[in-house]
Symmetry: C2
């Protein structure tokens, strides 16, 4: 096949995926239809089936491509020749920036996984554990290099941080003001500060 045609087809497939993300975000996946996606792309519904099989197929693509992008960020960090604390800073910066640059995609990712079939839900859970494991390993390495507070519990820093990042899309749109780069920088510094500054959570010490 003519490579120009292949390129055009791939680019058209990307347009369809982008439109699907917008529609799923605006209407919610359950209420969205292939017809809505076709209208957003500006083509007849029938011609969409040249690029996709079904609505389920589109949702599945959103998850797969998002996971590829996250994996690329992790690989970039892994390849850095730097102390663990700097890798941690970069990971939080890059992943915050991903959330802020993909508000609709990230919202669909965190909200609509219930609509995936059982096999794919299992895959999402495995990916989530992979992200958690990557971050926990970075935190353990930071501790091993003497750059983290001694009593720090990497598992809870991980959950705290991932939840905070997942929340970015839901408040960012309304707040305005600072650039995504500034906010990603602030988030990276907050995690580094937390890692360096947190004492152990001693049982019973805090007012209950």
């Amino acid at each position: 096949m003519d490579p120009t045609v292949v390129g055009t087809r791939q680019s058209r497939r990307d347009d369809v995926l982008d439109a699907a993300i917008e529609v799923f975000h605006d209407k919610g996946y359950a209420a969205a239809s292939i017809q809505d996606v076709a209208e957003r792309v500006g083509v007849l519904k029938g011609s969409l089936y040249y690029y996709i099989d079904s609505k389920e197929d589109l949702l599945s693509h959103v998850f797969d491509t998002s996971d590829e992008q996250s994996r690329a960020i992790m690989e970039g960090v892994t390849e850095m020749d730097a102390p663990a604390l700097e890798k941690l800073r970069s990971f939080v910066y890059e992943w915050s920036l991903w959330h802020l640059s993909n508000l609709e995609r990230a919202s669909v990712y965190f909200r609509e996984w219930r609509h995936l079939d059982g096999r794919q839900q299992g895959a999402v859970r495995r990916k989530r554990r992979e992200y958690e494991g990557f971050l926990i390993d970075l935190l353990e390495a930071t501790k091993a290099e003497g750059q983290a507070a001694a009593g720090l519990d990497p598992r809870y820093v991980c959950f705290f941080t991932l939840s905070a990042l997942n929340g970015l899309p839901s408040w960012y749109r309304d707040q305005g003001g600072d650039s995504a780069e500034y906010i990603a920088g602030a988030y990276a510094e907050m995690v580094v500060g937390m890692v360096r500054g947190t004492a152990a959570a001693s049982r019973g010490r805090v007012r209950g």
Copy 2:
């Protein structure tokens, strides 16, 4: 009216609200019915209307009572005779514990606000800004008392922390192990560590 009867009626109303929270959590608000709630309580659907007006009314009660509980936590913290950093620690501890002790209620609160009517959605947004304002004020006071890193941006610490807390219900159930009190303590220490240890997010400093 006989106070025993009033007490019983109030307690029965609480049972109905608890059942509604479970049903809304398990089935999702949109798919849940008054019939489901009646079955969970163990009464006929008709007798539920002695306690509530409608499904919308039940959802509205979930939000109102949750906001009352959050307000009680904020009032308790405000009345503490302690430095701002200790108040901050207590607030994060108590509110984390609330999320961990009310997993289903907190999930419904964060997931189902779209189903409230316009007036109530406005009220939810105002409450959210109230919580944000309370936390930002605490962070500003901590800075004013010289207990926070100089360059700390209270607004982003606030969003980071509230998102992290909102995420508690979604991962806690699967993780097991530590008690809610231990995790709330770890969260409180992480926020205190972040406040004390975070440098300013200098623009352009972080690898982009």
